[in-house]
């Protein structure tokens, strides 16, 4: 899990391009960073810490070179130290390598190289690569062949990029980790993700697994690892680089919470017709599945839990799985459609689960925010949630948009006839979310409970995933203990944790049997002196048992989960803000986790 950038053809601007690119990739990791510039020589600067620490280190020296690579790291092998920061070098300090992914056979390669006399300076898996290249060069291979042969020895997932002293080219290869080329008239880029070079060009070429690329100031060439030429098509990215600015907000997270009405409209655009009560997802073709298995991680998993209930209510057997579990112990699939939900489209656990499903002959569908992502290219079908770029590590608008998109999908593939009422509910959603943004008292709630030791969240049915998601947001950005429970499960154990210092957020909307039962659970915690914050539309009598109320508008029961969740996003945000947390870049976390 890391970010890679490379550039050829920018001459004296190379260093600036690399550092700027890294700053745009910080969401992928931010515990150490470094750059290597090559031309006549090889110049490397790397350090533990964020990009600003790298900038400070670069103040003292300014490496130069006609080509260069850079890296921002999220630790997998070895702690974040200067030594473990990328780029990694060979014994002669002539080959520099940056890498994203995990090399599974690194221990055996390292043993072999150590025995042969190579000296290792870091704890990383990556460092075997420059030493392998060093050996190939010593055996007389030319630089390109040396890199190819070294990479051919790697097992596992990687996006690798290499520069060498005296060589004004960049070599790159990909397997299971994202890598994209940026094409300009007189300069060429490579990166883990488009924002890294989007300020310079909108023309991109996505590399596929098993491909190898060479870039220099005059152009680029893509081949297989064995050297067979590959015909690549160029794409144009249509989003705006300024989208990655904060538009006047202190944090991307708050900006993205506020973008939800617009993101939801974009998700529905051209896909729903309330007049005829139909949903148009024609580009997905005829899916009509007998069953559905959803695989996802983190916030996306909570959207998957929600969606599984939608499918079940429509009479389709459906289940949500944590992708990391599914990948290693998959259930019988039968003729179920396997749906992977991932914002980035690069989540390694989700990709791995989908690959496992495909290996077993299943049809797969990606629900993702990222056009051109690995998941979109690997699955049989892709549905985009159209939320726009999300930079804050804690997912907010993409959760709402995932739920919106999964609602459309459920309507489209279950075809229960007239869906007018649900579509009307969905179309009311942007206005309902705006109402919360205009009126929320979440900041006061956050102020009241900022010093609590734990936070609990309860909900039933479609509100159960909201409880899980409310707790996850709280954990991620406040670093406080938080748990979400199915409301009925509380009394089977977790109730023992409830004290007067553990606020319980109860999500209750409507006034049906489910609401009545949740209100019963609220009474259980109220009787234990726990402060209760009810997130409610006021239809039930939950307010009588609550210390505080976060109001949500009266909406269709299918979409109440989205509006309730927005309140919980705001509570987590304001709590973290008051506690002075690093909201957009919480400790130990990264935006898209491309390692398993």
């Amino acid at each position: 899990m890391c970010g890679i950038i490379g550039c050829a053809g920018r001459e004296s601007e190379t260093l600036d391009v690399l550092v700027h690119g890294l700053s745009k990739l910080e969401y992928r990791g931010y515990d150490s960073a470094g750059v290597a510039l090559a031309g006549e020589g090889l110049d490397v600067c790397k350090t533990a810490g964020e990009i600003d620490d790298l900038r400070a280190a670069l103040e003292e020296r300014s490496p130069s070179g006609s080509v260069g690579i850079g890296h921002t790291r999220w630790s997998t092998h070895g702690p974040p130290t200067d030594e473990n920061a990328h780029p990694h070098l060979d014994c002669n300090r002539e080959v520099a390598v940056v890498h994203n992914g995990i090399i599974e056979n690194y221990q055996e390669l390292r043993d072999e190289l150590s025995t042969a006399g190579h000296e290792f300076r870091s704890d990383t898996d990556t460092e075997v690569v420059p030493h392998l290249i060093e050996d190939e060069l010593a055996d007389g291979a030319d630089p390109e062949d040396a890199v190819r042969q070294a990479i051919a020895r790697l097992d596992g997932s990687y996006a690798v990029s290499v520069v060498m002293s005296g060589v004004d080219r960049i070599f790159a290869a990909r397997n299971d980790s994202p890598l994209v080329l940026g094409i300009d008239s007189d300069a060429y880029y490579l990166a883990s993700d488009v924002p890294a070079f989007r300020d310079h060009t909108d023309r991109v070429v996505y590399l596929d697994d098993g491909e190898f690329a060479v870039l220099d100031a005059d152009g680029y060439r893509v081949t297989t690892l064995d050297g067979e030429p590959v015909e690549k098509t160029e794409d144009t990215v249509d989003w705006d680089p300024e989208e990655t600015g904060k538009s006047g907000y202190d944090h991307f997270m708050l900006k993205e919470i506020h973008e939800q009405p617009r993101a939801l409209r974009q998700c529905f655009r051209g896909r729903v017709d309330e007049l005829s009560g139909t949903v148009d997802l024609a580009d997905l073709g005829d899916l009509s599945p007998r069953g559905v298995q959803l695989v996802a991680c983190g916030t996306s998993y909570h959207a998957a839990v929600y969606a599984a209930q939608l499918f079940q209510q429509a009479g389709i057997p459906a289940q949500a799985f944590l992708a990391s579990e599914y990948a290693t112990s998959p259930p019988p699939i039968g003729d179920a459609l396997v749906i992977g939900v991932t914002q980035s489209g690069e989540t390694a656990d989700t990709l791995s689960a989908l690959r496992e499903a495909r290996k077993r002959g299943a049809r797969t569908l990606a629900v993702t925010n990222t056009v051109g992502s690995t998941v979109a290219r690997e699955c049989d079908h892709a549905m985009y949630i159209r939320a726009g770029p999300e930079i804050g590590v804690a997912a907010t608008k993409t959760f709402s948009s995932q739920i919106a998109a999964l609602n459309l999908l459920a309507l489209a593939i279950t075809s229960v006839g007239d869906a007018r009422e649900v579509i009307s509910g969905l179309r009311d959603l942007p206005g309902a979310v705006q109402e919360i943004l205009d009126t929320s008292t979440a900041q006061e709630i956050a102020e009241t409970y900022r010093d609590a030791e734990s936070y609990f969240f309860i909900g039933r049915g479609l509100h159960y995933p909201v409880a899980l998601e409310g707790a996850l947001k709280m954990k991620e950005i406040t670093y406080k203990h938080a748990e979400g429970f199915a409301a009925g499960e509380l009394k089977h154990g977790p109730l023992a944790l409830v004290t007067s210092d553990t606020p319980v957020f109860a999500v209750v909307t409507g006034d049906d049997e489910m609401a009545t039962k949740t209100v019963g659970n609220v009474k259980e915690v109220e009787a234990r002196d726990a402060p209760v914050v009810a997130v409610t539309d006021g239809a039930s009598d939950v307010e009588r048992y609550a210390d505080h109320v976060l109001e949500v508008p009266d909406t269709h029961r299918r979409v109440a989960a989205v509006v309730a969740n927005v309140q919980l996003q705001l509570v987590a945000y304001h709590t973290a803000d008051m506690l002075g947390r690093s909201i957009d870049k919480p400790r130990n976390l990264a935006k898209s986790v491309t390692v398993e």
Partner: protein, 397 residues
């Protein structure tokens, strides 16, 4: 020196437009199917400005959320005015965000790009300390009046009480970068710093150039003015969606039933839906995601984003806020009325009703002409609404 950075003053609420400004500032109110401020940004971008600095204050998030970090590929930077202490004070907040001479406009009035170009050009050619757009206006007394001698400003006076003035300050300025020091040196009047006070001081010592302009210049002072604004925008075709036939603009992602009638001029925004038998227009503007049910009549009316009008309702001379829900069979017949705003009564205004954000009328609700309904008010089935209905009120039959 060339002028390429525009500062847009968009921090004020616009209190006389209440109750429509409960959740957003005046620049975000609709001019036909999109916010006034979007028209202002268009004029600036069309005039070649390559950087926008937007001063925000009251309900600033609504401006930031709408435009985000850029508009039509031009970067937008936001600066906060925490207390609304006058237009000069607002401009001062932008000091750190601007280098070079700023072009300055009010964010709450519709202007044309030709005026922006004229002011920038007048400033660049004659190199004065300041240049401002002036135009002839029959109601100079309502605005800031100016007097010119040989295109040089000799007098600027806010809302003069005598009737001899014919030229007004159109609120489009270009300043030398020293303007920020000039504002800081201007004494406050009643705690506020008005930009016109600084300009008046400047005109005593230095050259302040008046640039005569003409073209569309529309201001909304009271809620019903939004109907005039919409009519002007439609008449001039300042609409950003596809024109299907003359005077009928329908966004590509809007859905209009074959059996609905659109009478020009009319604009239907993205994601909106119009049901069978509905008659929409003339002078009707539907924003984002508006739903008009079967057999609804909408005439001389502005329906803002997320509004929903159910079957058989009639809306004439009506302005809605966002997310308004009008139940089936409700009627705003329109017409003239005396409307009270604060302590003032405006006689014979043509106004059906103003429904602020998130008003719900359950169904079969009738509205007397001139009714102002506050945000989130709830009108129950069969209710009869008249006069002023406060925020969040429940009105029973």
């Amino acid at each position: 020196m060339s002028v390429s950075t525009a500062v847009v003053l968009a921090a004020g609420e616009g209190t006389r437009l209440r109750p429509l400004t409960r959740n957003r500032p005046k620049p975000m109110l609709p001019a036909a199917n999109r916010p006034i401020l979007e028209h202002v940004f268009d004029a600036l971008v069309d005039a070649g400005m390559d950087e926008l600095v937007c001063v925000v204050g009251y309900k600033h998030d609504r401006v930031q959320d709408h435009f985000g970090p850029s508009y039509r590929d031009v970067p937008v930077q936001y600066v906060r005015q925490h207390k609304q202490l006058g237009s000069g004070h607002a401009l001062l907040q932008a000091r750190a965000a601007v280098d070079g001479p700023p072009l300055v406009v009010n964010g709450d009035r519709l202007i044309e790009s030709s005026m922006v170009e004229a002011v920038a050009e007048g400033f660049e050619r004659h190199d004065p300390s300041a240049a401002l757009a002036v135009m002839e206006h029959p109601d100079a007394g309502q605005y800031g009046a100016v007097v010119l001698e040989n295109d040089e400003l000799t007098e600027i006076i806010e809302k003069p009480t005598t009737g001899e003035y014919r030229l007004i300050n159109a609120g489009i300025y270009a300043f030398d970068a020293s303007i920020f020091d000039e504002i800081a040196d201007t004494p406050r009047s009643a705690g506020e710093l008005a930009l016109t006070d600084t300009i008046a001081r400047l005109a005593e010592r230095e050259q302040v150039r008046g640039v005569r302009c003409e073209g569309m210049w529309v201001d909304a002072t009271y809620p019903w003015d939004l109907l005039t604004v919409a009519r002007t925008v439609l008449a001039r075709g300042k609409v950003d969606v596809t024109e299907r036939e003359e005077g009928v603009w329908i966004h590509d992602e809007a859905r209009v039933h074959d059996a609905a009638t659109l009478r020009p001029p009319v604009v239907v925004g993205p994601d909106s839906e119009i049901g069978p038998g509905a008659v929409v227009g003339p002078d009707a503007a539907l924003g984002y995601n508006v739903t008009v049910g079967a057999n609804v009549t909408v005439e001389r009316t502005v329906l803002d984003a997320d509004a929903r009008v159910d079957a058989g309702s009639v809306l004439v001379d009506t302005v809605t806020g966002q997310d308004v829900d009008v139940g089936a069979g409700s009627v705003v017949p329109g017409g003239q009325a005396d409307v009270r705003v604060g302590n003032e009564v405006f006689e014979d205004q043509r106004l059906g009703a103003v429904l602020a954000d998130r008003v719900t009328a359950e169904g079969d609700v009738s509205f007397d002409p001139g009714t102002l309904v506050g945000p989130s008010a709830h009108l129950h089935t069969g209710a009869h609404a008249r006069g002023q209905i406060p925020d969040g009120a429940e009105v029973m039959r």
